[in-house]
Subunit: 568 residues, 2 copies
Amino acid sequence: MTIVALLQLDHTVGDIDANVKSIENAVGIAQENGADLAVSSELAISGYPPRDLLEKHGFVRQCIEATKSIQVSIPTIVGTPIPPEAERTKPGNGAVRIIPGRPTRVVTQKQLLPTYDVFDEERYFHPDSKPGILRLLDGQNIGVTICEDAWQHAGLVPSDYSVDPIEQLSSFSIDGETLKMSLNLSSSPFHIEKQDTRAEVARCAAKTLEHPFLLCNQVGANDDLIFDGRSLIAWPDGYMIQAPAWKEGILLIDIEKRSGKFLLLNEEDVIDCEIFDGEPTIISRYTELLDAITIGVRDYCRKSGLESVVLGMSGGIDSAVSAAICVRALGSKNVIGISMPSRHSSDHSISDAEFTAEKLGMELLSMPIEEIHHSAESTLIHELEKGHSVAAENIQSRLRGMLVMGVANARGAMAIATGNKSELAMGYCTLYGDMAGGYSPLGDVWKTEVYELAKAINNEAKSSGHDEPINESTMTKPPSAELAPEQTDQDSLPPYEVLDSILQLHMEEGLDADAISGFTGLDIALISDILLRFANNEHKRWQMSPSPRVSKRAFGQGWRQPLAAKKN
Amino acid sequence: MTIVALLQLDHTVGDIDANVKSIENAVGIAQENGADLAVSSELAISGYPPRDLLEKHGFVRQCIEATKSIQVSIPTIVGTPIPPEAERTKPGNGAVRIIPGRPTRVVTQKQLLPTYDVFDEERYFHPDSKPGILRLLDGQNIGVTICEDAWQHAGLVPSDYSVDPIEQLSSFSIDGETLKMSLNLSSSPFHIEKQDTRAEVARCAAKTLEHPFLLCNQVGANDDLIFDGRSLIAWPDGYMIQAPAWKEGILLIDIEKRSGKFLLLNEEDVIDCEIFDGEPTIISRYTELLDAITIGVRDYCRKSGLESVVLGMSGGIDSAVSAAICVRALGSKNVIGISMPSRHSSDHSISDAEFTAEKLGMELLSMPIEEIHHSAESTLIHELEKGHSVAAENIQSRLRGMLVMGVANARGAMAIATGNKSELAMGYCTLYGDMAGGYSPLGDVWKTEVYELAKAINNEAKSSGHDEPINESTMTKPPSAELAPEQTDQDSLPPYEVLDSILQLHMEEGLDADAISGFTGLDIALISDILLRFANNEHKRWQMSPSPRVSKRAFGQGWRQPLAAKKN
């Protein structure tokens, strides 16, 4: 047993047949390339996260039957839901060994069930209480853990579990034999602060276990979760080999020689892995974000059977960056922009959108909203005369939302909502207007980061010999919703640098107004006002579309108390 | 110790000050009426469910400080979040004793943390491992449990817990003294199948414990959860006293005399409780649903600081019933209807809406959409000519959504979405069109049940001497979205009786197509088609507004896998 293959695949939630086929295909390639053992990611058969599919009649049974049917020629460990052992018990999140000529057997089930942030595993799974050991015929024994099982040991969980599966494994011995290595099947979602965290987890485990620790991670996106891959192996001395991010393929590791290579799955190509003793190379933050969101858009569309998207293009930075990302994900012929100027639109709102669309090579429709805006105002005239001014502003945004949806429905495409996280946090956006769309690429990206993404997009174009798609005017004009004469965002919001820093400390670090003021030196009244507004707009976020989760803490199902909000 | 007061109050999530004041006020009234001990509902200080507020910096600390500040003149048990005992540990869901002249002390923390359906408690709380005992100065000892703690014993949990707090209490003794009674602090949400379930739980506990078991339940609504109250006491022989549903007040029980009365909180009135040896009286299903949804609308608006609502009125059954419920919740002067006929609208769509609005005494605006519809079609003409027909149909619905939102924004009111659960399940509704609104009163009510609600509304009007608000035409015409000529729902949906029975078996009982076919005798192809369509419309429900949860199993956060849906 010297060559291990970690199957870094892009599984689809619920598509059991396709998941089985992709594993069989990859194991075949691994075996041809000399692998002795293949390892899948966590819940590879169901895809991760399976959520309520697990409660669907027969689903868990289908998963285990499909797992048992897998045809492979080398020993393979596969992640799958496991039917409960007793009545009135939940299923397990397990690893099954498939060894030619021997009966299929459950090696272990996950002990530590993360139930925080994007995770809800206590909801669906029953925890195991012992470590998993894979006994191979050649007398080698291998420890097996599943994702979170390895994280308690590194102290990288928000609140401590009562057990530590890595400690359990370290005290394990069979007839005096120690373990040769340990495996971890992961579906560990991406966020932008996480790049080197898994290396820390693997090294910490390898050091305690005194043998190599291998972690196979899913790649691709399901719903709002994104998986970067970066499968890896760590030795007790800190030496590591890591697969590339965002690529589907096989990390082939020679345990004895401490060498590895990554076989790309679709391109019949081999790429080098990163090998390091110290810190892994950290990819530039905005290159990384760009790749993450692109994968999010691409997989959301592909797995939903959608080829093309439609978005409104205002000439502003958000829609320009959204368009560029969609083109990156789906190709320029599958992205349709619509310019929808109103009487409040500036001249450059049209020309800047045209510039970006032309450079991206995408279609741009022109649909001025003046006539329909006038009709809508006439219909609502008595209400608008005496009502809040926001009513009149929102009409334009909702008419645009209606037009974008009209084109999307006519073409069988999906509408893209172009709003960013700063706007959504403040409610500086219109329900059923600019919030309309099946997916929000920038919904977890602060406004200040949108500008950095724009630069990364321009840099990428330039370095590959193309014109920059986002022009100077789009980059530098004052942000404006253009829903009232001479309006800019800063009429009703603080500068985005200030706003984003306050919101980030509140959302991601959990700080209250006093603590944020102490940390930033900003005025407490300003901070309190922002936090109140953030809380009071929960009700809008309740209805926002899914968005690729890239930040340390995204808007989530937990962020929902319109009632509490009003009082705090 | 003979008189116990169960404080059946309507707490607001996050409004700590108001929750403290309402407890102090209620305990004062209880004491004036002879109570020796007062008991609140679960998490009365934070309100239930506090969700992510628990992760907000300082929130749990504020709750416990507020609890310690409570001024009462009789011993009182109060539900509140409890700060964690150790670092890197979650808070507890606890009960604190407040006894004049003695230190405030945590009596117990919840052991069984429900994490299924609408519950997510493993996410937020650390479980306790021992039962709670309240020791009073007169030498009496009282068992204390929190909500779910009592449900394992009755076997009424979806999957078994490893401990049973009622069994723990039953084996408890202090210096040979047994417990005089046991308490349960609950925030047990309503659903339509649950009316007599809590009685079963309490009786089962009382029988095992061989002493009276008292359960105090929250009343009112927070977000999408509704609480019916119905606080109760059961004796070991099955004798029970139960407080009324939907009323805020104090259930005052004389333990020795086995008698009780309910003091209404706001009306200075006393009403009789139900006393029964056998089964409790089950309120008629649709009277109960009507009350539940009315409380949902009323509390959602009141707690969000909203006085009035706006809704589109098509002359159809859904908008008529929604309007009647809103009038019931908020009063006729706070409900604004809009009639928005298009070229596809029938004559009766206007006259039926006028009839209902007039009988309900509410304002009805008229805003024909022909002109704006024409403008929108002109703008989209090239797309509509070659595109899917659904694009043209949806425009009308979205224009109406825009008008409803326009009136709501102008008046500072909330838009009401009038769609029902059958439509939402099938995606037979328009995103940003008829789905637009801050709250969906009928979002968890099957279409067939909407008709029953209409009858209950008419019966209520008749029995109080008023005209029936929903006329024969609205009740009997074929349901139609009226988005195309001569269109009816049954052009693209099976009859609602069939549809609802299939969806209910799938969603609430977890049956697959084969099982549903076996149970109903319906054609398997029809069933499979419906289940596929149900799954393929996850993405729409992702963006639906909150709706009062009244069914055994509502659409929930778990029902979200647009990707899986496409494949299953």
